[in-house]
Symmetry: none
Subunit: 256 residues, 2 copies
DNA sequence: TCCCAAACGAACAGATATGAACATATCATG
DNA sequence: CATGATATGTTCATATCTGTTCGTTTGGGA
């Protein structure tokens, strides 16, 4: 049994039993109590449950979100990218996130417990990110208006453009479907690319967060050219030729 | 029995009995009176109840108990209210929903499969409702901007007011903490009541959806007077005296 | 007002849970 | 195969929970 499976099983147990007992779970999963405690601490950090002495109980919001813990493809690469991304933040900064699996990981990686990251304001047009971060303490979450797109949970349209145009975050982490030196940064929906373009334009600094498998990929609608962003943050699996090409275009490339 | 379970049970006992007796509870849970006292002190510290000599009583905010402590006993009443509410909709109509457990039920009750309810547009300031409805086919979901409130998932603030002021839905289903002929329709947060007031003002017709246990209850901040809404939709458990009083104020009362 | 039983808070002690530190094992990667 | 990173187990000092005791306070009745 992998760690991810155990975490998911713990959450299922929490939902079905209403509580988790450390000793009993350690016995059931055949691991030490220390491991279960570390698991529970990790889940508590993400507000998926509340620790108690001897175990854990559901927190006030976890009823609606039992299956939030899903492992994604290339999950470990995205996690590394996300951890590198949050290192760029500072107390009191404002950060914008668009929709996408990588930006969700960035949102999850924002450590609300550490004083180092207190007072961060997150602006987003992604409903799932907003819902997840709402329960986090010490994070102010601002949502733009708009019409929700079923596939990506992103808010798009005139309302979204209008509200985002009023805000100027310090840094924008931009997720995308593809990134190519020629075709630029692309997504699959023209409404999404339109609102994402506004986010890039408004932010003082934009960092593209994208796993290496998407480098060289071209989606339907362009958000912007690579020269319009400050940096590209990807994982170490990136093709070195591609990295060199991007750097020759004057874009900073960070490998996590 | 764990400490967490005992705390939850104490709060449930408080809700059902209206008070807690230290000695009796110590006997019932098979712990010492000192433990019960410490439990009650802990809960009082969190403003979940008020200590008395020999026990505890609900405090003024105990209806704001965290979700995990709330009894689900009124679930079927809310379901009936929700089903009656969606009967008021028609194909192509626009409906606004604020946050709250009852409005969530209304959102869930909107049948996206039936052609009868095709093309419905839902406007909401509640993130959880928006997230849940986003995956439904044939429903267009519009979200206002704003800052997210952790307790209720509602978007509030200037951005929310601004965006909602641009929209005029056909009907608004309004959830609330309390409804009283004199004190009006109330909630516990002034920022929420402000944005809810805008929703009432913008909608062509407002229907309050509220379970009968909240009739006569008064929260901290008024959304509007009962005369400002078109109808009150509650369950058949409503006190007949209260219903008569409300009707004498010229408000339509619907019992589901 | 006075009195007293019940309730309370503080202090202590035993049992259990916890966190930190370190050691070991597993795994992906070059 | 070597290496670094991550996950897990073990140990021990510390923290938390609970029950008990005891002196003090509270609230109601004479």
């Amino acid at each position: 049994m992998t760690r991810a499976e155990r975490l998911a099983a713990l959450l299922e147990r929490l939902v079905s039993d209403g509580k988790i007992d450390v000793e009993h779970s350690a016995d059931h999963f055949d691991v030490s109590a220390a491991t279960i405690r570390r698991d529970l601490d990790y889940l508590a950090e993400q507000q998926l449950l509340a620790r108690t002495h001897g175990g854990a109980v559901p927190n006030s919001t976890s009823y609606d979100l039992p299956l939030r813990y899903k492992s994604t493809s290339r999950g470990e690469a995205k996690t590394r990218i996300a951890q590198r991304a949050v290192e760029m933040l500072w107390p009191g900064c404002t950060v914008s996130l668009n929709g996408g699996t990588t930006t969700v990981e960035v949102a999850r990686a924002i450590p609300s417990a550490e004083p180092l990251h207190h007072g961060i304001t997150v602006v987003t047009n992604a409903l799932n990110i907003a819902t997840e971060l709402t329960v986090r303490p010490f994070i102010k979450i601002v949502v733009c208006g708009g019409v929700a797109r079923p596939q990506s949970y992103e808010l798009v349209g005139a309302l979204a453009t209008e509200t985002l145009s009023q805000l100027t975050p310090d840094i924008c982490f931009l997720g995308a479907i593809g990134l190519d030196p020629e075709a630029g940064i692309t997504t699959n929906d023209e409404a999404e690319s339109a609102i994402n373009r506004v986010m890039v334009k408004q932010a003082k600094r934009t960092v593209v967060v994208i796993d290496s498998s998407k480098l060289g990929t071209v989606g339907f609608s362009r958000i912007c050219h690579v020269s319009e962003v400050a940096a590209i943050l990807t994982d170490s699996g990136a093709d070195s030729q591609m990295v060199a090409t991007l750097r020759s275009h004057g874009v900073e490339v960070i490998l996590a």
